[in-house]
Amino acid sequence: MAAGHVHKLYRHGHSPVHRLPAHVKVVTLLAFVIAVVATPREAFWAFGVYAALLVTVAFIARVPGTFILRRMVVEIPFVVFAVLLPFIAGGERVDVLGLSLSQEGLLAGWNILAKGTLGVVASILLAATTDARALLLALQRLRVPPVLVEITSFMVRYADVITDEMRRMKIARESRGFVGGSRKQLGVVAASAGALFIRSYERGERVHLAMLSRGYAGQLPVLEVQTAAAVQWAGAALLPLTALIVSVVAWITL
């Protein structure tokens, strides 16, 4: 596959992580996240170990830190919420740098921030090492309900088409002297959104016709069955197993 022809979350490569079958990676990610979420929030050292594990995976996958950092912006809304918690939560107060903060809020904020960040980074690593098609095949392989897989598949396929359509509508608006920004113009933007919805809806109908015309009978055919060797499962399991052990130790030593 030529460079520049893939989704921007994906980073082309040939590392052992890239080569792992996608469904193995999805299961690994899920198990890892569960282990992280199950860890008591007071066990600060455990989260350090988790972070180190992810850094190791990133290193093996040859995904640079800047690549991950730039994609972590999706987390910002949660970060804002987590930062607010120490100020608004009740309970015992502690003084930090002259600010009176809620101890409970600090812990809750930390809990959200640490677990959320680990989950986001792990997901970024999955997306960076697995292209969209492989992910869809993985969902199919893991017996996610076909309707959900189809919806996801169409989203992947048509996100660019619809973004393009939106961009053309914007250019057409502006070519006729429209300047966005003020509140009065919101009506125009809303009308465009409505038009875009109708267009997408109608496209959906046309796509359905085209699918029926090629013999679609309610289910996407399984085009490729992914298989994983025991070695691959074992290799991938190292991550969630280590995390599980850390989580258990954290509970015991609490």
């Binding site: 596959m1 969209a132 098609r133 996407l220």
Partner: protein, 251 residues
């Protein structure tokens, strides 16, 4: 005489809102023929096309594809036999990669494994797109996407290839490339268009759908040189195009 690829008798259709689009269409297309269906916008060309593979069900009359009537119990086989290439390739190509999209039709027919791979490769090869198999459709040019759309139905081994406005939005080079592809195919072609020079280039025979019936059925060159006839059905040649002096393209 062999069974014709397509036979339509007395086909009439009204939309649920009462608007009647077809008033008794009759036509026969022999195996291996390339026929153009001409008509202005809104003449009911697309409505007719959707009857050919049973997406729309006739109010009256019947459609037979290579002798098999279009009816509920035959739908799967009918949709294998009738390969429709829709106007907007983005509607037709909905899978993440070109390869998966071309495989979609044959896989629905229950083909798998190496036979499926062969079908996909052959179909892409016929339209000159084999090297693009792993690309997502969105990253192809419009002309390339249209050729892939042709491949998606060729992979089903159709009896008749139905092209809905095949030349729309194509630049002249893509237009010629598509014409070369179509001419090289060993399949019956039914081409719906209002691009009259393209009809002349590809189809020795043309029909005009007008007023919900086939109003004219004649050799394309004769039809295009009859000015009164063209005007009667709201058909117009592009400026400066003279079908009398247009070269004959070898079949």
């Amino acid at each position: 005489m062999t069974v014709p690829s397509l036979e339509v008798r007395g086909l009439a259709f009204a939309y649920p809102d009462g608007h009647q689009a077809l008033f008794g269409v009759d036509m026969t297309i022999a195996r291996g023929e390339r026929v153009a269906l001409l008509g202005p916008n809104g003449a009911g060309k697309t409505t007719l096309v959707l009857h050919l593979n049973g997406i729309l069900t006739a109010g009256a009359g019947e459609v037979m594809v290579a002798g098999l009537p279009v009816a509920k119990e035959n739908l799967q086989e009918i949709r294998r036999r009738v390969g429709i290439v829709f106007q907007d390739p983005d509607d037709q190509l909905f899978m993440p990669t070109v390869r998966d999209d071309v495989a979609f039709g044959p896989a629905n027919l229950g083909i798998s494994g190496s036979e499926l791979d062969d079908r996909v490769h052959d179909a892409l090869d016929k339209v000159g797109m084999a090297e693009f198999a792993d690309r997502p459709p969105h990253h192809l040019s419009f002309g390339q996407r249209r050729r892939v759309a042709v491949a998606t139905v060729l992979a089903m081994g159709p009896e008749i290839l139905v092209l809905d406005e095949p030349s729309s939005n194509l630049d002249p080079a893509s237009r010629r490339e598509l014409a070369d592809v179509v001419r090289a195919l060993d399949v019956t072609v039914f081409m719906v268009t209002h691009d009259l020079p393209y009809a002349l280039e590809l189809c020795p025979r043309s029909m005009v759908l007008s007023g919900g019936v086939i109003a004219v059925d004649a050799p394309t060159r004769d039809l295009l040189t009859d000015d009164t006839l063209l005007a009667e059905h709201r058909l117009e040649l592009p400026f400066g195009f003279d079908p009398r002096s247009a070269p004959t393209v070898p079949a």
